[in-house]
């Protein structure tokens, strides 16, 4: 599944995404977003690993949630890239 850049992501107090715009639709969270962390293969990309950089090199914040727009409801995976604070979206077929 190809990742797509995501804009207009609104997050709640805990940093969980509650609303976003995708492919022309406005989506709202339809389940409690489950936060998880996936890992990165830092040894293939990093050119240094000084103290303090470890967490960012090792893992990425992910959210799995059902979200609904006017026309559809599906399961999504959202990737939160730090430190850029950008979002990517992966629709999950279900």
């Amino acid at each position: 599944m190809q990742a797509e850049k995501l804009s207009g992501v609104a997050v709640d107090f805990d940093g969980a995404p509650v609303a976003f715009d995708w492919r022309g639709g406005h989506y709202l969270a339809a389940s409690r977003p489950v936060r998880w962390y996936s890992r990165r293969l830092w040894w293939q990309e990093a050119s240094g690993a000084p103290r303090g950089s470890g967490a960012m090199l090792v893992e990425t914040e992910m959210w799995r949630l059902w979200a609904a727009s006017e026309g559809s409801r599906s399961l999504f995976e959202l990737r939160h890239q730090m430190p850029e604070d950008t979002w990517e979206i992966y629709p999950i077929d279900s």
Binding site: V34, Q44, A55
Partner: protein, 1073 residues
Amino acid sequence: MTFTHLNVASAYSAHYGVTRPEHLAQAAAAMGYEALAITDRDGLYGAIKHIGACIQVGIYPIVGVNLEVRGESSLGRVTILAHGHNNGRGWGSLCRLISLAHQKKKAEPFLTLGELARELEDRSCTVLLGNESSVANLILDSPKRAGEELRIWREALKLPEVLAIEVVNHLTEPGRVGSEEHASRMLALANETKTPAILSNAVRYLQPDDALTADILDSARHLEPLGLFAPQPNAQAWLKPQAQMARIALEVSSGATGAKRLISATEALAQRCRLDPGSDCGWGKPKTPEQEALGITENPFEVLWKRSHDAVSWRYPYAKAPELAQIQHRLSKELIAINQLGFATYFLTVADVAQMIRDMRIRIAARGSGAGSLVNYLLGISGVDPISEGLLFERFLSTERSTLPDIDIDVESARRHEIYRSIFRRYGGSRVTLLSMQSTYRARGAVRDSGMALGLEDQEIDDIAKNMWRFSARGLRRAMSEKPELEKFAKDAKSDRELNLLVDLTERLDRLPRHISVHPCGVILGNSSLLGLTPTQPSGIGLPMSQFDKDDMDPMGFLKLDVLGVRMQSAMAYTVREISRIQEKELDLDAVPRDDAEVFKQIRTTNTLGIFQIESPGQRELTGKHQPTRFNDLTLQISLFRPGPMKGNMIKPYLDGRHELIKPDYLHPDLRPILEESYGVVVFHEQLMRIMQKLTGCTLARADEMRRMLGKESKVKAVEDYFRRSAAARGYQQQLIEKVWSIIEGFGSFGFCKAHGAAFALPTYQSAWLKTHFPTEFIAGLLTHDPGMYPRRLILAEARRLGVKILPIDVNKSSNEYLVEKCDDDTAVRMSLTEIAGISTPEVERIICEQPFKDIPDFFLRARPSRRTLERLALLGALDDLAGIASLEPEHNRSDLLVYIRQLSAKPAAKLDKNQLSFELGSLQELPSGHQDQSEQEKLNHELRLTGMDISRHQIDSFQQMLDDLGVVRAAELVGLRSNTEVLVAGVRVATQTPPMRSGKRVVFISLDDGSGCADATFFDEAQRRCSHLLFQNRLLLISGKTRRTGVRGVSILAENAWDLRQLWQEWEAKAS
């Protein structure tokens, strides 16, 4: 609501945990935690450090272990937590379980469920089934099988309070182990089966940043590069603060009530597991063997009192009344202090071990400050008389400190393991275990493992690692900018992504424990409860070792004996045995008089090779300048030749005073008795203590405390104030006080403990005594046990210089040691079989077992040497006698013999049937004749090639003609020359040293052996530039320079240039022909 982390792996979970226990405890306290657990993998390696750190930061320590448990199949890894406040029942169970897990002779330690159940019958521990358990692994795919697995546990551990399910949410991908979903299922299973559930974060590092370090450690554990094994899922296994743990509790239990129940269950278990270090682990309480183990029934102090008093007449048989009064006074003072500290049993124990070692007829000597104790001398622990040598008890033990003192003993290195086994037998396996030590990552190891993690080529890693010597991994970046040998690597790392990454990874591994091994000399001796206080595991030498290291001994109150193997003790014991065997003289080396003029005369020649502590080139030079005449001079010389006194520039004023070049300045008549032995120079800690005592009127114990304070910058002022005030109050002049204080202040770290020096001086004197009176036997001892810093061939050269006869290897007479043989009214040393390159231990053993042989075929049949060994034996002349070619005018020669044995060994080995073969051998033609014999030079070359030694004559002799031609001076003649004489010396390079100089420049010291002794040459900058390529490469050198007199018999050469002797020889020969 409070929470406690109950599953925490520290860095002592080798190749798994990342953070040192001290840092975890400090961080936990800073985060407001009241308690913290340590649950390392397979052991309590970090537990004592954890408890110590917890006490220091004021939180409650909890200790557990992570172990694999097997039922019919593996039940996975679980955490076993010790309950506290039960007089050590929990701690004891933990220790016994871990020892049990390590006793299986399998690659990985594990427990059987049965073993665990038996130990937990008294409910002293709780088992946590966490994410590494089989239950957790099955629960997502097959909840039913997970339930069955849990039932196995519940049936085995029937009692309540010993089993809990550990819920861990590492926020991994939904549907995986460690995800929220997984944690919820574990909690649900606990609720369904009414098993208690607790929350943890299965911590393996302090902060998320450390997860990257954990990746490298995982790679080192798997022995595979990153990417080739399943890595940790993310960076969530850190020591999270309470708020985050509360949030996780909420997420996994879907509701506040459930979350609250989970956290309070966790806290209830944490409460039960809080340890009381004193009553649970015996923290800080000295543990010594029980009276019955020492064979005494009365009060230990009374026994000690009686034994030491009884020994006075043994140690001081000729003492007169005034001396006896002094001895009694000193003894009473020591005994009172020992009693006050409650160390009587400790002294009796060490004395008992010392006696046991002597009963095994093994040489023993005390080392270190312990020699300052009269009690140690009377009990036979030390062999140096502290009264006549001016050694102070207070330097060793004082009532101002209460830690167990270190009494270190040196024994024959070759018999050290024998002693360990005897200690185990004597005190029982329940009271004794060996000490372990943790080796930690330094730069070289760290760069290797980091390189492997990144998947770099072995060759590339080797190239980088080989330039990394002796610095910490953390300092790598700095070293790269400073050290010339890392220059290329530093440049490469600037442009290469992986190399730059490698540097960061290497620095991350700094000082993390890598692996545990047995300490080179430590034995722990305790009471019968020892195995309930420390877990043990097998060591490389077949005896159990504790999982604790030397830093854990004091907190645990364990008595640690340092039994260090010293090769010189082996060499001396061997010498004494050979004297007894050959001369039938029983020699008590410890009883020989310590004022033998012959011995000091021999030392003063500076031919100190083989003499303990004073054989190095530097000590040899100092011997020439110093010219010792009595035992105390040896103590002084050994003490002066140390980094401290050398840096403090103490040697020159001492020597000048000694040789009456200056008038010693004793500052004040009161100080003269203290400083007389060293001509006004303060050399020893003991002198400083006595000066303090004299001038301030304080006790010696107090004086030693102040001496220690001088080493800490923050405390110097307090000492100064006290010193000035008290000395002035006692009426000393201000000028004197100023002067003495400046000496005291400058003394700092420069001085040396006289007891150390005197303890070392004893084997120095004893080895010199043996060398003087029994040179043949002593040379045999040196060659057999190789105690020194020089190659064996130099010992042979020294033997020749001393006129000690050396006999070649002979298959009928040589053994695996250098035996002394009687030979024409004299004695000689027989070369050993073990020196032959490539000879195997079984070959040596067969030769020794089957001796004597009647002829070559007999030898070939019974000793069964390999073809190569047989040929080498022949080339070295070891078969000459057997073949009948050793006589004065033999009909055959060694070349004939070689032809013969080649025929012999050419027979296919498959036919090795003894009867048949002897028939075939019988049909072999007799020794042929007429082959060109080997020249002496060829024989010498074979010796050098096959044994590394010039046995038949000195290597340099081959060049003698040319050396005479060039007017080369012999090393022994140098001492007769004036200073500044131009000379040429030649010889075999036997030592090369490059100590750093105060100026920062390097100086190269070269010692050449030419058979008459050693010539020492110094190369400064310019001379180094001329010939540096030769100094480290070539073995045979010719050196030109000027003599430099440094003392009465001290002479060295200020080198100007050096040449390759072989090359000169070739040119000289070409010219001559």
